[in-house]
């Protein structure tokens, strides 16, 4: 496996040095297309450890690496696999996993079938959230695309159908439906998120298990050139053994339902996007002390814009708002009031060094501590903080 990573690295170095001719955007071996990317970031924050556990002193533990192999077996049948690893402070730690791997049979343009490990449609960018070079910003708006929850919503092992329906003068409609089981790796962010959200009342104590997850999304490419509207929903149940108060063993079962509505508008070199999401968790905590049930709904939205000035330079920004408990947006019931919201203003610059290498620098001003992880930051004393990131991505 290490050799494969080395191969991606060597290819990326070659790519960034311009040794590949301009028209070649992939390696090919025996009819199999090979593509890969490496994104290496640096994150630094003031006042709080944010995204990584060590961002206050600056951290390079912020990367994503992927390589994929694919082949068209016939005009209608396609097979592919992507290996992926990421590091986000003490999360991920570059453990290699299968990001997606599926066979795709296109019956008609309006009906295709996928079988295997399939990425889930959730919002505009869930499927591409790890592919840094596709966007201007570095950090995705955390109100919708929380990095610690990435593995809980990224892909499922099962079946999917998809297609593109021509609506004539009304544009076209793309749809995707996926049903499958999910592997939830506690080490990949879920445990850290869960423990932080439970505020020390209980901790995950073993392997989490997910029932069959269902995800579906539609995207309407409207007759207004460049405007597309989307909606998606996701549902699953996650069971996790927990330790309550450091001593009592119990089990937490969470029924999760997420829906997202989205809009994206492309006008020349300008891209504007907005999304709204509600994430409802209905949980049942079983322990020797009895049964505890509850419902919590978080609400998030953002507005983003980016403009590509020329082949070299793009500028972007977004304003992202998250309320982890929509019943208390002002923090009246919180020990630290600003845990009730996060309002993140981000500004990014992107330099496309060549076809294969991208450099980005981004600054954030964050009002609120809703995404400030309690495990990394037991003491909260400021409502606002800033952080910055820089990232280089090389791909081929």
């Amino acid at each position: 496996m290490k050799n494969r990573i080395m191969m991606v690295f060597v290819c990326c170095v070659l790519a960034s040095s311009g040794l590949f001719p301009g028209s070649v955007l992939a390696l090919e071996a025996g009819g199999v297309d090979i593509h890969g990317f490496i994104s290496q970031g640096f994150i630094v924050s003031e006042d709080y450890e944010y995204l990584t556990h060590n961002s206050k002193k600056g951290s390079f533990e912020y990367n994503e690496i992927g390589i994929n192999f694919s082949k068209d077996l016939t005009d209608r049948l396609r097979l592919g696999i992507q290996l992926f690893s990421r590091d986000l402070g003490d999360v991920g730690n570059n453990t290699i996993s299968i990001d997606w791997a599926y066979g795709d049979y296109r019956v008609k343009d309006w009906l295709g079938i996928r079988v295997g490990r399939i990425k889930l449609p959730m919002g505009l960018y869930n499927e591409t959230r790890d592919i840094d070079m596709l966007r201007t910003n570095v950090v995705m708006p955390q109100s919708i695309y929380g990095d610690l929850l990435r593995d809980s919503v990224i892909a499922a092992n099962g079946v999917g159908v998809y297609g593109n329906i021509d609506l004539s003068r009304l544009g076209s409609l793309e749809y995707q439906l996926v049903a499958g089981s999910m592997n939830i790796d506690n080490e990949n962010g879920f445990e850290k998120y869960f423990n932080s959200r439970s505020k020390g009342m209980f901790f995950i104590d073993g392997t989490s298990d997910s029932d069959i997850a269902y995800a579906g999304g539609i995207r309407w490419n409207t007759p207004l050139e460049g405007l597309s509207l989307g909606a998606s929903a996701f549902s699953n149940t996650v069971d996790s053994p927990v330790l309550i108060g450091g001593a009592l063993k119990g089990e937490n079962s969470s029924d999760n339902f997420v829906y997202t509505v989205s809009a994206e508008y492309l006008w020349g070199n300008l891209t504007v996007a907005a999304e709204y999401q509600q994430f409802e968790i209905e949980y049942t905590l079983t322990s020797p002390m009895g049964l505890k049930e509850g419902v919590g709904t978080s609400e998030g939205y953002y507005l983003s814009a980016s403009y590509r000035f020329n082949d070299l330079f793009s500028l972007g920004g977004y304003y992202s708002v998250l309320y982890p408990y929509d019943e208390d947006k002002s923090g009246d019931t919180f020990a630290f009031a600003s845990d009730a919201w996060e309002k993140d203003l981000a500004l990014s610059v992107r330099f496309d060094i060549n076809d294969y290498a991208v450099l980005k620098v981004e600054g954030h001003h964050v009002d609120g501590t809703a995404r400030v992880n309690a495990m990394d930051n037991p003491i909260r004393n400021k409502d606002e903080f800033c952080y910055g990131v820089a990232k280089v991505t090389v791909s081929f």
Binding site: D33, G66, Q82, K119, T128, L134, L266, R308, F309
Partner: protein, 146 residues
């Protein structure tokens, strides 16, 4: 006095450096959408061309497989994307990177020269491509021109 001159010089230098950052890509010129004479269509509408080049449509109306090829980035490529696909060159490139890294498609077959694209299209039934209006397209069939 010297400091003021130095400041002015620095400001001019920064402004001059920034000029290329704010120049946009030029997109102009007529393009012809071409195919092989054996392809079972005589004309195409813009939506069909867009859907084929975005991988959303993989068949001709009679069910035959439709393949598309592109030119390397340049004036003709930009003009075609602007006229038919309604995307800039970078948006088109990003669109296909998205397909590649989510497993939904493979990068389009690309050619450096318009002569090469004509040669490939004429010899490969069901393939669609494009060239600038003044390119010699002997042996190819024109489906649309803009």
């Amino acid at each position: 006095m010297k400091k003021q001159k130095l400041r002015l010089m620095l400001i001019r230098l920064v402004l001059l450096t920034a000029i290329p950052l704010f120049c946009s890509q030029a997109t102009a010129g007529t393009v012809k959408v071409i195919t092989s004479p054996s392809t079972p269509v005589e004309t195409v509408d813009d939506d069909l061309v867009m859907n084929i080049f975005l991988g959303k449509k993989k068949t001709w109306p009679n069910g035959d497989h439709a393949q598309f090829v592109v030119l390397s980035p340049g004036k003709t490529h930009n003009s075609f994307l602007n006229a038919y696909v309604k995307k800039t060159s970078s948006q088109f490139k990003n669109y296909w990177k998205k397909q590649v890294f989510t497993g939904k498609g493979k990068n389009p077959k690309s050619f450096e020269s318009e002569g090469d694209i004509v040669a490939y299209v004429t010899q490969t039934p069901g393939t669609i491509g494009y060239v600038s209006a003044d390119t010699d397209i002997t042996g190819a069939k024109v489906l649309s021109e803009k």
